[in-house]
Amino acid sequence: MKKVLPPLIPFVVITLVLEWMVRSGVVAGYLVPAPSAVLRALFDSRDELAAAMAKTSSAALIGFALSTLTGIAIAVLLSSSRAVQRAFYPYAVFFQTVPIIAIAPLLVIWFGYGMKTVIASAFIVSIFPVIANTLTGLLSTDPALRDLFRLYGASPAVTLVKLRFPAALPQILTGLRVASGLAVIGAIVGEFIGGQGLGSVVDVARTQQRVDKVFAAVLLASVLGLALFGLINLISALTLRRWHASEATME
């Protein structure tokens, strides 16, 4: 209760204030929907929204899973040598800077209209934080511990698995936290172009001037982002609980 209540209070207050503002005419209902209108839209279109949410969720999850695995793999490769890093890291930065809106039409050319494009979009938007954070984590290994491993004749592979990777875990999880939200955004953008899921609901509702439905879909997208974020937090708590300051409780 202690954790859930504090963030709930501002949410409830803002919702009530907004409801009043729209009902009393301070804010036009066609510009910002009353919370009650959003709720009604959620209920009225529940089947459509549920189906859309399922599609967006799976695309975001798959895209996120792919960017996690690929991002970590790329970071491991980059961390293996300074030369490799210098040669290829700038290309990794490309994933961060490329405007997804601009390349989404290209994605459609390569993957067609549908799930593959949405997953690709989620992947592209979310992979860079995984690479950057994992790389930082892998490069920040305690040099004394590396010496220790060297002293006892551990091969680079063993050092990677038993030392560098576990040591990098807190940093990797930070990267995953950021990437999880981005995967949802990437999926929605992909859906604008590729045409399905919550992104499509937003696009169509917007054309119909149904701001209530737009907000309902956006709300669900936020819930999805929060759920993914919460999942990473859970994993972080479980794996880091006993040894990392970030998850330590007072003993």
């Binding site: 036009a28 066609y30 039409p105 459609v108 209209y113 045409g195 499509s200 696009d203 054309t207 001037q209």
Partner: protein, 303 residues
Amino acid sequence: MMHRRSFLSVCAAALAACSKPAKIRLALNWKPDPQFGGFYAAPYDKHGSDVEILPGGAGTPTVQMIGAGSAEFGIVSADELVVARSRGNDVVALFAVFQNCPQGIMAHASRHLDSIGDVLKEGTLAIQRGLPYARILEKKYGFDHVKVVPSPGGDISAFLRDEKFAQQCFVMSEPLQARHAGVDVKVFPVADIGYNPYTTVLATSGAQLKSNPDRAQAMVATVREGWRTYLDDPKPTNSHMHDLNPSMDAAAFAEVAEAQKSYIETGILGSMTADRWTTLIAQLAELGDIPQGIPAQDCFRTL
């Protein structure tokens, strides 16, 4: 007596000096192209107006901008204006550029299709699903056999690559582009299924009309002049718009400007009738886009 008169005359002089032209923003719902030619050609300065034209793009929310007051005037389509009114947004139409709706569906001529219904029998259709005519098509013919995808917004590359790909278009725009790229197309105007809303309509808010009736009147007169000028000689304005929107080449500007004339010049430029609005309102009510009929008179003003 003497004091009052001189006081009044001083006030009048002061007021005259104070009435500098207030900044007027005209928001477009697409990039500068021939459909807005008359607005760019209009002699605003001559009528003492300081008008700033704000170019738009995909999804520019001109109806909402008018309602929220972030633009004094905007370009909308008649159907979105009706929907906006039904949601409590007091937008009013003043001048309709396209007397007949120039929207349509284009398909590869090699498919030898006869009617719009045939387009929906197979392949892919790129269309904005939220648009009323999309839903009229769905209601009438069903989308069960065609794959519906979002409209690529003026980009015809997907269309060119795939023979079974059809997409929504402006009758005088994308088809010309396709022909230039070597693909022969067949165009099915939306008006053929009986849906013909005014398009590229100059609109303002009811509040603006009430507080500034002279300004709206001046605007309409100026715009009408601009369209006359543009229809007679589009070249200088096309050149200016091409600078603003280089994505369309000069030759295309000229071609489209010529092709669109028949949709615009059918009588008095920009005029609207209550009948057309009534028909549109009934169609939207039947679709379920608006809860019930709204008075046609409220939708437009003839200034």
